[in-house]
Amino acid sequence: MGGLGFPILTVVTFFPLVGVLILLFVDKGSKRVLRWTAFVTTVVEFLLSLPLYFKFQLGTHHFQFVEKISWIKILGSYYHLGIDGITLFLVLLTTFLTMLSILASWTIDKHVKEYMISFLLLETTMVGVFCSLDLLLFYLFWEAMLVPMYLLIGVWGGPRRVYAAIKFFLYTMAGSVLMLVSIIYLYYHHYKVAGDLTFNLASLLSTPVAASVAPWLFLAFALAFAIKVPMWPFHTWLPDAHVEAPTAGSVILAGVLLKMGTYGFLRFCMPFFPTATLHFSYLFLTLAVISIIYGALVAMVQDDVKKLVAYSSVSHLGTVMLGLFALNLQSVSGGVLQMINHGLSTGALFLLVGMIYDRRHTRLIKEFGGIAKVMPIFATFFMIATFSSIGLPGLNGFIGEFLSLVGAFKTYPVFAVLGTTATVLSAAYMLWMYKRVFFHEVTVEANKELKDLSFREFMIMLMVVIPMFWIGLYPKPVLERMEPSVLNFISQVKGRVSAQKEFSPQGKERVSMAAFIVENKELR
């Protein structure tokens, strides 16, 4: 239990359910109580996740705060949780953004109870995804996460919410199904080779897959995660989902859910199939660079601010993927840091877009202009978020972007150079949007009387901005926690390639599904 004396990860994972339980007994009509209950739950949850950071042991790549209890014996599945230097920050990001999202959901007025319950359920599943070290458990959380998100988009979304929700669900499911097949294959394959049934991540990792099947399994996993990231050309669900999702839904979708795609590559796809990873690296580097440039160019010409931010995510996540596939310390650390940074900056942008939407019920750029005059505080926060997203040195975005690009340049200079165009393009699309929304004279009558941020909104933005400066000026605490895990990841991929090449696909690796079913029957 990682030296804390109590199962902290279980607490962090399931604490939101306590909130759900309380919410169940609150009257539907008392919206204030519902909101405060949910908010307090997420605040406590965030505070509970802080010891993970402070008690985190430096200098080791081993999983920490590990809990392992037999769960489904007959399948060899364990309730197995643990975090390393990478998931530590993803968990913190999740609890942090969920807290802000609930605070940003004060304006939700429809089915408040169900909304808050969905949100808290979502939090549990998200934390669960990042903490699971058992593939079955992981898959369970992964799939369970879809349901509350689907509801958040489909019930509390915009006019085309149903289309967007279904598109989101089907896109993700299409990938998940292939991933499930691959997980089962790995599970069975491990059983054939090692003779025990387990979904344990480490055990499955230690059983290399035959070179003949590895590429297919790799692609199945990769497809599931590439949709989630999303990489070009699997990205078209994202703008739709974002435009229709409620503000908090977008924050979580961009801030956390997209990271599950990149996390999936990092934790499963690439370490499981190192040879295939290297074999396909040019494909994925190309897709990453296309995502970077394509996302930025399409973002530039959007008429809807939220859609613009959505497309910018495609571009930013492309940088993460570029970093991951370049496979060196700087590039991968930069990529992981960029996952956090994107959560903060894009989360902040979605929060801000939501605030103006609450006031004007439109997000079309041409409906605005001169907002800086009427809402100076709002404009200031928007500018900080904008520059964080552009990657201005001194703010968080720069560190992640620069590290991933400088690292990528070491191994793949051409791809890195192409990826660096993002620095120009992001400035172009963000500042052009900023200019049209905030500068010029106020021309639209409805904008003349807009109120600046309320205290609640001010506090939300203040909280997001602080870590932006912190990571920008003093990223060392983050980097030093991350470094051993990143090195471990690289050695998992690179170190095992040579070992696997000698592994010949003979005899028992060629397995038959029918035999598997039969043998499994015997087990029963």
Binding site: Q330, T420, F439
Partner: protein, 625 residues
């Protein structure tokens, strides 16, 4: 020493923070914080300069900013002859421009006033960071930070569409340069394994000439953005939309010279790459000439000064490009005084004429505003290279360096540009301050600016007059001082006494000729400028429209990219191809499902058959594997 350096860097940041966070309280009193926040660092800079003069050097890490494996970048500072000169110049000029701003920004709203000083302090903070950084990445922080402040201050009057556009243009164009800069940094890290100046320069000789050339050309790309050289100079004339003290501080005296400073700072790399040096000098000379020609026919007071800045920056690049780094920095130093001064006088004129910038509507103003007028003349004489004013010394060093280094064509271009410079500057002076007033109404309302504005003018005018004499100080003067760190790329083959004097006489003659020609054309109408414009209509139109460069960029770069993104990528690839395919799959599923519905007959025997067939198929599939 670290404490003093931190004081220099952080006090402006403190000032910016106070005015930024508490602009609701400081309001009209913002300058009480902002001016000392620059004046104190200015005094400390002088102390630091004095210590450097005594031979002290300083290079120390404050803390490790990004420590990641072998990629280790600190927040650390380097104080040597070069950075000492830079910070002294920056803080000195900035102090007086802050003082001047008290008068100039008088009409702003209280909060706008505080915001203005906040940005101005913040700018100085980033500029000092840029100059004092001991590694490439921290320098890049300052580099981007000054760009941010420039963006914010150009767009200070953001309700004006032209100001909002100009701010954005400045930032984006700069980012194009930074794209090159960043890749240059990647290459340095890849080949030298460090971004620290001391380590990188010490091991610079390991680089092959090819890599060194690539690195330096990429760094220079960054410089062309920040320092407004061909092909990225287009943002600077538009940047004149900002308040005039900003144009003076950021877009003349300090920020735009960052590119020159950077080339000088990385001279160890440039020395490895003769080709890059050639490129730097050639681009510098071409920019100097081109910008000067655009200034010839313009009627906008501030834009003429902006083109003049571009042109003078070209000179500085000629200096560092031909290997006389110290001369380039010397010109940077003198230019900060006289160009800062000229912008402030332009601001004073605007202040008096309610924002009027058109030369054709002015005239005779020297009677109404003598201090403004005569200080401008001092600045103009300095830039025209008339001895013993500042510009003469530094320009002469550069041209002599070019000639001695064997760059005869560049020398000729530079000398001819000196003639043009003197001409357009005195055209501006005669049209603005002398002759008969052309707009009676404007003239009648004109008045001299208050002392808070004229005192900075006088100070900078005295500076413009005398700082050039530092060239005559003992131990080789300021050039010798700078050469303690910079050295010369190629040991100039001994200053041949006679030749240097001949060159000096030529360049002075060029300056005088320009002044005299301007006098005859604009005071005596011989030849009449209007008739000249008519006779050389195509040339005049081309120059008047700035060679149509902005239009060309829009037609061939901006519009195709935006249009292509909208119609080819978004509307076609995204909406029709990808979403078409996705929705197509959906439709296909529904179609197949609709078809399969017919086998759901509801008859048990049908199902039994199907189960049997299915079982056999599965069995055979199983056998196959």
């Amino acid at each position: 020493m670290m404490v003093l350096i931190l004081a220099v860097v952080l006090i402006p940041l403190l000032g910016a923070t106070i005015n930024g966070l508490f602009c609701w309280f400081t309001k009209r009193k913002a300058h009480i914080i902002a001016v000392p926040a620059i004046a104190i660092p200015a005094i400390v800079s002088l102390i630091l300069l004095a210590r450097v003069l005594q031979g002290e050097r300083f290079d120390q890490v404050l803390y490790w900013w990004i420590p990641l494996g072998d990629f280790r970048v600190p927040i650390g500072f380097l104080l040597d002859e070069l950075s000492a000169i830079m910070i002294t110049t920056v803080t000195f000029v900035a102090t007086w421009i802050h003082v001047y701003s008290i008068g100039y920004m008088d009409h702003e709203t209280p909060r706008g006033y505080a915001k203005y000083f906040c940005y101005l302090n913040l700018f100085v903070f980033f500029m000092l960071t840029l100059c004092l950084a001991n590694n490439f990445l921290l320098m890049f922080v300052g580099w981007e930070g000054v760009g941010l402040c420039s963006y914010l201050l150009i767009g200070y009057w953001y309700e004006k569409a032209s100001a909002a556009n100009a701010g954005m243009k400045a930032f984006v164009v700069n980012r194009i340069g930074d794209f090159g800069f960043m890749i240059g940094l990647f290459l340095i890290y890849k080949h030298l394994g460090t971004l620290l100046f001391s380590q990188a320069f010490a091991s610079a000789e390991q680089l092959s000439v090819g890599v060194a050339t690539l690195i330096t050309l990429l760094l220079f790309t960054g410089a062309t953005g920040k320092s407004a050289q061909i092909p990225l100079y287009v943002w600077l004339p538009d940047a004149m939309e900002g308040p005039t003290p900003v144009s003076s501080l950021i877009h003349a005296a300090t920020m735009v010279t960052a590119g020159v400073y950077m080339v000088a700072r990385t001279h160890a790399l440039f020395n490895m790459a003769p080709l890059s040096m050639e490129v730097v000098a050639s681009i510098g000379a071409a920019t100097a000439l081109m910008a000067a020609t655009m200034a010839l026919v313009n009627n906008d007071l501030k834009r003429i000064l902006a083109y003049s800045t571009v042109s003078q920056l070209g000179y500085m690049f000629v200096g560092v490009g031909v290997g006389v780094y110290a001369a380039g920095i010397f010109h940077l130093f003198t230019h900060a005084f006289f160009k800062g001064l000229m912008f402030l006088t332009a601001g004073s004129v605007m202040h008096a004429l309610h924002g009027e910038l058109n030369l054709q509507k002015m005239g005779g103003l020297i009677k109404k505003m003598p201090i403004t007028g005569w200080t401008f003349v001092v600045g103009a004489l300095a830039i025209a290279g008339i001895p013993p004013l500042a510009g003469f010394w530094s320009k002469d060093e550069i041209l002599a360096g070019a000639f001695m280094g064997g760059h005869r064509i560049i020398w000729a271009v530079g000398t001819f540009t000196a003639f043009l410079t003197a001409f357009y500057m005195f055209r501006l002076i005669f049209l603005t301050f002398f002759g008969e007033p052309r707009e009676k109404h404007l003239y009648d309302h004109a008045h001299e600016s208050p002392p808070v504005m004229t005192i900075p003018l006088i100070v900078l005018a005295v500076g413009s007059a005398v700082v050039g004499l530092l060239a005559l100080a003992p131990h080789g003067g300021i050039v010798g001082f700078l050469n303690r760190t910079l050295g010369e790329a190629h040991e100039a083959a001994g200053h041949e006494g006679g030749l240097t004097y001949i060159l000096m006489v030529i360049s002075v003659a060029m300056g005088v000729a320009g002044v005299v020609l301007a006098y005859f054309m604009y005071m005596k109408r011989m030849p009449d400028p209007v008739a000249m414009a008519r006779n050389f209509r195509p040339v005049y139109t081309l120059l008047y429209n700035k060679y149509y460069v902005d239009e060309i960029y829009f037609a061939f770069i901006v519009n195709p990219v935006v249009g292509g993104s909208r119609y080819a990528l978004w509307k076609f690839v995204d909406v029709i191809i990808i979403d078409g395919a996705v929705n197509g799959v959906g439709r296909l599923c529904r179609l197949v499902g609709g078809g399969l519905r017919y086998i759901q007959t509801g008859f048990i025997p049908d199902y039994a058959w199907m189960i049997l067939v299915g079982a056999v198929v599965i069995y055979w599939i199983g056998r196959l594997f």
